[in-house]
Symmetry: C2
Subunit: 336 residues, 2 copies
């Protein structure tokens, strides 16, 4: 019998526990409002490596180690590792996890990686294919700027709609728990293309996908925004948040007082010069792991719809005149 | 209760049917030994598009349409689409599938994409999360050469160890069937790094991963090569095949008479100037869909271990002196 609850949504009969989560970030993230909440703030953005790409892999490796240690398990206990990042051919994840010697499933969902990974990981556990799955997502400001935009040395001026790629990595260990935060289901997103072609305005490119997934979740489950204590998107930033709230109102849902965005939480707009907010695969991952998951554990919030958002583009696709489709994957997390 | 059979392997209690598969290829593939077996040979490698990247997306779109049509279902019946390719940020898959309006899970496993996709897709069906999943993989000789090696116009001489990236896309529709070929389980691969740094010798970089996954499958299941009528790797080519057979003998298994490689099957070495063979995400996908799946349907072979292989690298990682880890995902297919 299908476990589906509706068009895009799966709800589990048995919660999939979040055993532990880890957040490892760079110095700028450490100076932000959540600075004291991360597991580790690495002062050297190169993390002792020879290149930004290799540094990103060091963040990944460290986040994996920290999450496994916090979970009380060992790496060999995890039947699958699921990981994704923004680098060409996902080398941030690959070289960070090369030595784990665990079955490896690479994903690409741009900055929605943690949403896609947690959804797949939870389904693999609920389906009986694994007892434990480790999900990772990473990004690095310098490797992303180099690959997607301009050489850092060029000192290009950034428009106010642009976001700042978070340097760091997050890891979430899924498995069984006696009590605490657990994944209760997921709403897998469709690609939504709003026709945005401005690679410096990812919030606008992703807002439509976030609205589509959140609205689909309500239709599938019969729930309303009232059900949740918080609806947390990945990296829409200030520009994307405004659009999301408008789009949701058009769809008949006012989520104004429930909405939080990881990209807005991670930096101080007034003092950190990050314009529309934070972004990158690590953004939703580290803010969830360090901040929101702890709030759930404390009981400050109990029911959360976590919706990492991704802008699906490459420099080549933008140069060839393509618009930027967005995608957003919803993960239901509740205290059990 | 866990459905696992061993360290890296899942065997399903109920087979996951292969409803249909599609293969759409370019002109060079059409001129090869399997030319008459593909669903469609597109004579224009640009597929009417303005760029090689957009052409690759046209191959993806067409393969999806053909597979869905052959399956007797409609696109809206598929609860998930899982797709991967080699292009930066997976734009081959993304722009090819943007208009499907189905929940989308992007993957990255380099040329192992069809193995990773079919494994995940079959688990989602067996786990009760979907009734139908569409899995895709694509590559394009021209987009791959441009991105990974030299501009085509440069006319670089290719070493004899190099392989020729297959132009095309494959799609496999998983769901329920009354009888015929079905996915019975999967062995998810670990990254295996043999220390190979030569990006013109992918066969050598991947052979260790293929041997690791095949040997793990035998350990996990207690089976020997005798169980299978064919053990089919993705794109090891002639160089990689020789290494795989040697490595398997060292592990105590002689698979010489069972082994087939999609990269060897797709081109005629003597007349097509493809050196060590074919490669690319499409290679294993289209050869499986057009050739081996049909052989299973006819009962020529009944039990198959299909092992798409991937070389995990980017031009940046190679330029920075990194070696090339390999990965291989095993999929068990039997006539039921």
């Amino acid at each position: 019998m299908l476990k589906r609850y509706g068009g895009q949504t799966v709800l589990f009969t048995k919660p999939v526990g979040i055993m532990a989560a880890a957040s490892v970030v760079g110095p700028k993230e450490g100076e932000g409002p959540l600075g004291t909440q991360f597991d580790r703030v690495e002062k050297d953005p190169m993390f002792g490596a020879e290149s930004w790409e290799k540094a990103e892999s060091e963040f990944v490796k460290t986040a994996a180690d920290v999450a496994v240690k916090k979970s009380g398990a060992v790496m060999d206990d995890f039947e699958y590792i699921i990981a994704g990042d923004l680098l060409n051919q996902s080398t941030g994840s690959i070289f960070g996890l090369r030595d784990t010697k665990r079955p490896y499933l690479g994903i690409f969902g741009a900055c929605s990686a943690m949403g896609e990974g947690m959804s797949l990981g939870a389904m693999l556990v609920d389906g009986g294919f694994a007892s434990k799955v480790l999900c990772l997502a990473s990004s690095h400001f310098c490797s992303a700027e180099k690959q997607f935009r301009f050489p850092l040395e060029f000192g290009a001026q950034r428009p106010q709609t642009s976001t700042w790629t978070v340097t760091g990595a997050a890891a979430v260990a899924l498995g069984s728990i006696a009590s605490g935060p657990a994944v209760m289901g997921c709403t897998t997103g469709k690609m939504v293309d709003m026709g945005v072609k401005d690679a410096h305005n990812m919030g606008a490119a992703m807002a439509g996908a976030a609205a589509d997934t959140i609205a689909a979740h309500f239709v599938d489950t019969g729930r309303s925004p009232d059900y949740y204590d918080a609806i947390i998107t990945g990296d829409l930033g200030y520009v994307g948040q405004e659009l999301l709230l408008q789009l949701m109102k058009k769809k008949g849902h006012d989520i104004t007082h429930k909405h939080r965005d990881c990209g807005i939480e991670i930096f101080d707009k007034d003092t950190q010069d990050t314009h529309s907010g934070g972004s990158g695969c690590a953004c939703s991952g580290v803010v969830f792991a360090a901040h929101f998951l702890e709030k759930i554990k404390r009981g400050d919030i109990n029911k959360v719809l976590f919706v990492p958002t991704g802008a699906l583009m490459s420099p080549t696709s933008v140069q060839q005149g393509e618009s930027i489709p967005g995608i957003a994957h919803g993960v239901v997390i509740e205290n059990v």
